[in-house]
């Protein structure tokens, strides 16, 4: 999966890829103060494509807000909602809108799930539907945090660590391997990283083609940009 940190106040964005073995579960957001946890599990293609490159994607997210007593398990098949010991199952083939005291849900048929958790967070999960009989690819999900200002200062995780911004500087723009993809040096978290100007896709407005967002690409699973290594974010269960 690709990670994209859009920073409109700097008119800029950062991006990196994280890949691991299919089945791995990563922690994306962890806020012990507010009790919010978001984990995601990756899967690979149906088989190894001719180019030999194994692609992985998120196919299942587990979301918990302990304080509000709310839980969600969202997979490419369906959406399970737990609230105050009640259980509800929604299908991606439905269009549904649910307003609760602590959580609002909006399912747009075969396309997106918007979740608003009271006084804390708003996010969208996009369903990318792939042709059912596609020889290699399968359905996958995207996770977009839209409003993160109420997270506590202790929020962390592969996405969460960026919720309160990040300081960096980019200098020394120079030709990269390909003339149109220049390299530069990024100073971040006390380190100097070689980064490449590229783009990643934001699929919110166009779920099929996406829209290109220019970004500084950090190589090697985001090493240097993220705290620690990508493997530090592996967890054993979805919840």
């Amino acid at each position: 999966p690709h990670f994209l940190i859009e920073l409109p106040n700097r008119d800029d964005a950062l991006c990196f890829n994280i890949n691991d073995l299919p089945g791995t579960i990563f922690n994306l957001v962890r806020d012990p103060t507010s009790g919010i946890l978001v984990n995601g599990q990756i899967i690979g293609d149906k088989k190894i494509p001719p180019n030999g490159k194994i692609n992985t994607y998120f196919w299942r997210f587990g979301i918990i807000h302990r304080t509000l007593g709310v839980g969600l398990e969202v997979s490419t098949q369906d959406i399970s909602v737990f609230q105050d010991r009640k259980y509800l199952k929604l299908l991606w083939s439905d269009t549904a809108s649910i307003k609760g005291p602590n959580m609002d849900l909006l399912v747009t048929k075969d396309r997106s799930l918007t979740v608003t958790l009271k006084d804390s967070v708003k996010f969208v999960i996009l369903l990318h539907k792939v042709w059912e009989k596609h020889p290699y690819h399968r359905d996958y999900l995207g996770f977009y945090t839209l409003d993160s200002h109420l997270f506590s200062s202790s929020v962390h995780g592969l996405l969460g660590q960026f919720y309160h911004g990040i300081d960096y500087e980019v200098t020394d723009l120079r030709p990269g391997e390909v003339p149109e993809k220049p390299d530069a040096t990024m100073y971040v978290k006390g380190q100097a990283l070689n980064v490449t100007r590229g783009w990643q896709r934001d699929f919110r407005r166009d779920v099929k083609n996406g829209e290109n967002v220019p970004c500084w690409f950090i190589h090697n699973n985001g090493t240097g940009l993220i705290d620690g290594n990508a493997t530090d974010y592996i967890v054993s269960g979805l919840f």
């Binding site: 920073l7 149109e180 934001d202």
Partner: protein, 619 residues
């Protein structure tokens, strides 16, 4: 092709027949597996992107496996089946600028022959005063019988013909034999094995490159040439000796960061030549954009020697940096042309055009391509033509293509290479000399039906307008034809009678060739235009156009972006069948993926929202 010496290529024959610009090419290749065990033999062919495959077959041990054109979705099901059983399928891939590659492989039993036959068809387009037939050949070894034969039948008469091959030195050029009579040309190239050899004692072959035939036809009538065969007609219109219409052209040039380096150097070089080529009566403007839009002058400038010299100095100093605001740059160009026209600064009978050169996606100002298309279309309002040059692979070519088609223009991809300067100049040369505006070709409603497009915004010098249709009654052998257009000083009007010529008399020995080529030419042209309509217009029209294009592709057996050709391969030893699929690529599929398109040092590009967004997603 084979890397194994136990496979012998017996023959490679390319047979191309052009009848009134409609080219029908058959490539036949015969190989023998000399080994004592079965072997995989590969057949790889490059064909022009403008061509549609119409047939593919294999003959193995006396059994013919013929292709069948099917709706793409249905063919996909077979493809899926093939892949899941571990078999490979035939694939078409884009190769370079003009060609795409068709490749298949088949297992051939010991001591057996295999014959591959691929057929494709295309309508040759006249550009800069000539038609071009391009045949790419690269056998991997010496071939017992190697032959390229091209026969051209042009009832208007052949004005000139040139044939050459990129792999032949001047000494070997006489191997290309040409016979040109008034209405017919025969070109053949058939080197012996010794002549194919790279050097006297080696097995390498010199045959690796393009065999190119260029020609033009005589043009004596202002009305053009109308041919009728078997109930279908085609009208070729490119009148001789028309004066050019003067033009007012706004060059809108991307100077964002991604243009830096070679691309901007080539742009500067091309612009200098293009400016130098402007006619004195033309007017021009230079608008540069990144996130900021700047104009050389506030209004269009007459292309006097002094003004051009001043503009060239300006162009030499274009610097790059920043991001890409296509929307506002184009709107400024439209406003400038409109304002100058309102204030009568431009000649009354002249054409207004905008030429956009960009290498990347809009990411500043309005960045939604659909909204930009809407804005530009509304601003232009049919009053001027928009041409776009998409530089490199990172540009969203279909965005430019649709936007230009919506505004009476066309787009062209410029490939990043050492000759990009020449590509830029070449495109400009094609569109820079309009001869007629708003050309209407009219035929009597009671005589013809199912016409291809018969209204054209411009006729450019060196190009040709082609209209085809079906006769309502195939006994009709003449009808009235009228052409209207706006010329340099006067309106252009010409009318005349179309009448069927007797092809049997014109080509007494070859009448069998001419049974249905105009019908197929009509079908090819209709499908191309329907595919274009499927890209623009309202959703209902688009769906209708696509459905019609699919019907016709199936009926006429063309492999278009909507269809696939399925060939069932012989059963393997374990009894599984594995179909081969030939498909036609769309422009979007030809685009190579890349991580960069629009880069810049963070400056002023805008997001749709000021909320930060944190994303994880897949590609």
């Amino acid at each position: 092709s084979t890397s194994d010496t136990k496979v012998e290529v017996n023959s490679v024959v390319v047979d191309c027949t052009v009848t009134s610009r409609f080219a029908h090419t058959v490539m036949t290749s015969v190989a023998l597996n000399k080994a004592n065990s079965s072997q995989e033999i590969f057949f790889e062919v490059e064909l022009p992107k403008t061509a549609f495959i119409t047939n593919f077959s294999m003959e193995i041990e006396g059994e013919v496996y013929a292709g069948e054109v099917k709706e793409k979705e249905k063919a996909k099901k077979q493809y899926e089946k093939a892949v899941s059983s571990g078999q490979t399928a035939g694939i078409v891939k884009a190769v370079g600028r003009k060609m795409e590659k068709f490749s298949v492989s088949v297992n051939v039993a010991a001591k057996s022959n295999v014959t591959f036959i691929l057929t494709y068809e295309e309508l040759l387009e006249r550009k800069l005063g000539q038609y071009e037939i391009l045949i790419r050949v690269k056998p991997k070894s010496l071939v017992h019988r190697f032959q390229i034969v091209t026969d051209i039948y042009e009832p208007q008469g052949i004005a000139f013909l040139d044939a050459h091959a990129t792999f032949l030195s001047n000494e070997l050029l006489p191997l290309v034999e040409k016979t040109v009579t008034d209405k017919k040309a025969h070109i053949s190239f058939s080197p012996t094995m010794e002549q194919q050899r790279k050097c006297p004692d080696c097995d390498g072959t010199i045959i690796d490159g393009d065999f190119i035939v260029k020609y033009d036809v005589n043009r004596e009538q202002s009305l053009g040439d109308i041919q009728i065969v078997n109930g279908y007609f085609v009208h070729f219109f490119a009148p001789p000796d028309l004066p050019r219409v003067s033009k007012n052209v706004a060059f809108v040039v991307d100077r964002s960061g991604s243009m830096s380096g070679t691309k901007m150097r080539q742009t500067r070089e091309a612009l200098q030549v293009i400016l130098d080529d402007l006619y004195e009566e033309d007017y021009f403007a230079l608008i540069l954009f990144d996130s900021d839009i700047i104009s050389w002058k506030d209004s269009l400038t007459k292309a006097t020697k002094e003004n051009v010299a001043e503009a060239i100095i300006y162009v030499k100093n274009i610097e790059t940096g920043g991001v890409t605001n296509i929307n506002d740059a184009l709107l400024l160009a439209v406003n400038m042309l409109d304002k100058d026209r309102r204030e009568k600064r431009l000649p009354e009978r002249s054409i207004d055009m905008i030429i956009l050169l960009t290498d990347g996606m809009p990411n500043s100002g309005e960045s939604d391509p659909r909204k930009i298309q809407e804005n530009v279309r509304a601003a232009i309002g049919g009053r001027m033509s928009l041409y776009s040059l998409g530089f490199g692979y990172d540009v969203d070519y279909s965005f430019l293509d649709v936007m230009c088609q919506q505004n009476k223009g066309l787009a062209r991809r410029i490939y990043e290479a050492s000759d990009a300067t020449l590509q830029l100049q070449g495109f400009y040369e094609e569109v820079s000399s309009p001869l007629l505006l708003d050309v209407d070709l009219r035929y009597p409603d009671n005589a013809v039906e199912f016409l291809t497009t018969n209204h054209f915004n411009q006729l450019f010098n060196g190009s040709e307008i082609v209209v085809a249709g079906r006769l309502k009654d195939d006994q009709i052998d003449n009808f009235l034809v009228e052409v209207f257009g706006q010329g340099f000083e006067d309106d252009f009007t010409v009318q005349g009678q179309a009448s069927a010529v007797d092809w049997d008399v014109m080509y007494p020995d070859e009448e069998y060739i001419f049974t249905n080529f105009i019908e197929r030419l009509w079908a090819y042209l209709t499908i191309q235009q329907l595919l274009d309509k499927g890209k623009i217009g309202d959703p209902g029209d688009k769906a209708n156009a696509t459905a019609k294009a699919l019907d016709m592709s199936l009926y006429y057996g063309f492999v278009t972006p909507l269809t696939s050709m399925v060939v069932t391969k012989p059963e393997t030893e374990d009894g599984t069948e594995s179909p081969l699929i030939a498909e036609k690529l769309t422009e979007a599929q030809r685009t190579q993926p890349g991580i960069s398109g629009t880069w810049a040092v963070p400056a002023s590009y805008q997001y749709s929202t000021y909320q930060p967004v944190y994303v994880v997603d897949g590609d």
